[in-house]
Amino acid sequence: MTVEATPARRVETLDDVVIRFAGDSGDGMQLVGDRFTELSAVFGNDLATQPDFPAEIRAPAGTIAGVSAFQVHISDHDIVTAGDSPNVLVAMNPAALKANVKELPAGSTLLINVDTFEQRNLDKAGYAQNPLDDDSLAAFRVYRVPMTSITVEATKPLGVKPRDAERSKNFFALGLICWMYTRPTEPLIDWIKKRFANRPEVFEANVAAFRAGFNFGETAELFDHAFEVKPAPLAPGEYRQITGNVALSYGLVAAAQAAKLPLFYASYPITPASDILHELSKLKNFGVKTLQAEDEISAAGIAIGAAFAGNLAITGTSGPGVDLKSEALGLAVSLELPMIIVDVQRGGPSTGLPTKTEQADLMLAMYGRHGEAPMPIVAASSPSDCFAAAFEAARLALKYRTPVMLLTDGYLANGAEPWVLPDVENLADISVEFATEPNHGEEFWPYLRDEETLARPWAIPGTPKLMHRVGGIEKEDGTGNISYDPANHDKMTRLRAAKIAGIANDIPLVDLDDPGGADLLVLSWGGTWGATTEALRQVRAQGKKAAHAHLRHMNPFPRDLGDVLGRYSKVLVPELNLGQLSKLIRAEYLVDAKSYTRVAGVPFHASELVNEILEMMKS
């Protein structure tokens, strides 16, 4: 039998709710967070999630540094962020409470595992006195639940040892939340069954804990009623949940198929980019080649070699790795070979905040190579959008024979959202022709360019009659032979620049969202799409008019960006850096863009953007 909500009970309906599961790294918060998310997805809510791992390897249990949290936002309407702050916080221990309570708005709900609130844990969390005994939590609706002990009780009949039993307490918490928000329970129990198929005792303990949690909500006098969040009217289609790193990996695989080329991914592990390597290394049956190089320079070099040899070559990393690849990327620019560099941005400078998000590598992508070495830049705007962004990066790289920088960030990489599966049968054909014949009488000139795209031919080893040498020294226009001629260097420098600039004619115009009559434009890019979009919804909900343009192509910009900017008397550029895009557009279009920045390693809150926008409207 499965747990059923008694039809009689009262249920209050909500538009949306933001729940954060917080506990020790060892408490399995990410796991129950994922489960709840999937239940809600399958149930039909729109949703967005945001995990928050500790940066430490594994900080001591019970300490603030060791707290791991998972926030999920579910709703009955289309949403774009994981929510500014939670309405409900599940705190498995004092540290989890302390680390998260300050973000809680007054009136929100607290589910606390009281069993853990004894002296040792309070000390570890740095609580002078037990917050449950003073009025520090007065502003919240606090539920004190002995999660551990009930879990142990519930699993005793199975003969589980207490120490093992305790491990299931996260499922108790999940059960309770599932009751509170009237989630279907079967899929979860099936999942536990599958997951722990070969460890029946664990399976049983977890199920027992889950049911205990669910029943606790049902029977305990604590809660006078449960809530429900109705399914959202999402666009029809087949959906799945996906994180940015997985979407990006699939986007690369899709691009390789659409280009009819083997995929070669060379990388050196680094947070938060490692999962792309992990994901792609599973896909050997797709013919995907992955190599864990000895360092990032090698990974970039390997990708260059693979590109020369005719593969769709990618190297992925985060900021520190991009620094190291700089010289190799300059070579790729000079060789004019197709290739993608993925930069999953994290907090900098230097080692910075490895597990946090940031947008501060835009200038590095633009200018992080000596000499004039221009490179197209594509930025993803949401976890699922990483699929399309990767595909677009591949299209540009192949068509224009150029390295392309693909920017995502830690928030997109680990965040998840529902995604309508694309129709893989009808992916755009982005395949390009290899050169097969001499292109200059009997000779082959590797730098004889296509008039329209200015791309040079891609002649791969194994092709008779097209043997040629390429290198990083300046090349004679056309023949590609070494040339120290001043005029030729000037010409080639401008040709390389013109080729990249010309891409502006091959990308969409600014996708402008203007309700009409706005004189303020919010210009955003990359991972802040969600927060910015939500902010504008709220602003408009207040009857105010503001326009929004979100950029995917950071270099070159859409060819109409100048005109668009010109139409607004006020331009606001919100960024998780000190104003990098704003510098670029000021230089390019001489518009007095105002930049709103926050460099805290966390996504924007829609609310702060709303305030900023309203402020600026006043002024």
Binding site: R240, A293, G471
Partner: protein, 349 residues
């Protein structure tokens, strides 16, 4: 490594024998007059037609340096890349296309200074590369600074009071890096070079060949003590598989392994022929090769040339292909639509 039939089926059906010119590019060769690099280039260009892999199936990858200019002179595919990175770039070529014959050319600075890490990792991975390091014990292209193979006390532009760094022994470091093929030769003996290059090319996996090369402008005569015609018999130890290690005009000198596993030079007359160590390239354990490599502390002492080590180990590219083959066998060719559905899905009508 591709098999070539030594003939160029030029569509006409008539098979034409490949010749040196088929491997020569139209670029004027530009090294200083008298540079040892000329001889090495010649040896390569004379050998390739014999091996018979067609030029279009060969790729020469180099970094930066005088040595690294070589690919420009080969009528093959080539990448003159950036300083030190050739082994990495060549790894990409070789793994993306195991059907190609990939050569890596560079100097002692290119491969052991800035490129040291890529070199040792390419060797341990056993990527199918033919790596030729032209060791002139100097930085030529930048006009004469000392290199990681320069002897201690070397006076150069960057060390007017003499260098302090203990040099690498390229053969020792290659062996320490688990190389499966290691050889040494020199620019004064085309026959020997040719033989070493042939062996390197034939080897499956990474082959490392140190080529003593004279930079007559910035380090002239660095190897004279061992390479000038009269010195050679007594100063060059020609390693031959399966044969006792002997040298000298009349084989009067020999090499024995002492109780500490060290290679020592002896007079054959004194110890007797049967005490000499019999060279075996194929030992699984690289200790013998390593011991022999120590004979060339620096080229003032008798120096072994030839193949130190040549053992079979799966080439990286082949193993990579196999993993893919096995996986495709097991799970069937990749199905993108299925992949996207590898997580639970739900449908909104």
């Amino acid at each position: 490594m591709t098999d070539g039939n030594g003939t160029d089926g030029n569509g006409s059906g008539v098979a034409v024998k490949l010749a040196r010119k088929d491997y020569q590019s139209d670029q004027e060769v530009r090294w200083c007059p008298g540079c040892g690099d000329y001889g090495i280039l010649t040896a390569i260009q004379l050998l390739l037609p014999e091996i018979g892999i067609r030029p279009e199936n060969m790729v020469f990858v180099s970094g930066i340096g005088c040595a690294a200019r070589l690919p420009y002179y080969m009528n093959t595919y080539g990448v003159h890349s950036i300083h030190g990175r050739a082994p990495a770039i060549a790894t990409g070529v070789a793994l993306a296309r195991p059907d190609l014959d990939v050569w890596v050319i560079g100097g002692d600075g290119d491969m052991l200074s800035i490129g040291g890490n890529h070199l040792i990792h390419a060797l341990r991975r056993n990527v199918n590369l033919n790596i030729l390091m032209f060791n002139n014990q100097i930085y030529g292209l930048t006009k004469g600074q000392y290199s990681p193979t320069s002897e201690v006390g070397k006076v150069t532009k960057s060390t007017p009071f003499g260098s302090l760094d203990h040099p690498f022994n390229p053969v020792s470091i290659a062996l320490g890096a688990e190389a499966s093929f290691v050889a040494r030769t020199h620019d004064m003996d085309r026959k020997h070079m040719t033989e070493m290059f042939r062996r390197a090319q034939a080897h499956n996996g990474a082959s490392f060949v140190e080529v003593y090369q004279n930079c007559n402008v910035f380090n002239d005569g660095a190897f004279d003590t061992i390479l000038n015609k009269d010195a050679r018999p007594d100063m060059l130890i020609d390693l031959k598989h399966g044969q006792p290690v002997k040298f000298g005009a009349n084989g009067e000198h020999g090499v024995v392994i002492n109780e500490f596993g060290e290679a020592k030079i002896v007079s054959v007359a004194d110890v007797g022929e049967d005490k000499l160590v019999v060279h075996d390239e194929t030992r699984a354990d690289p200790s013998l090769a390593f011991a022999l490599s120590r004979l060339a502390e620096h080229p003032e002492t008798p120096t072994p040339v030839g193949v130190f080590r040549a053992v079979d180990r799966p080439a990286y590219g082949v193993a990579m292909q196999q993993q893919i083959a096995v996986a495709s066998e097991k799970s069937g060719p990749g199905d993108l639509a299925g992949l996207l559905r590898s997580a639970p899905t739900w449908t909104v009508a």
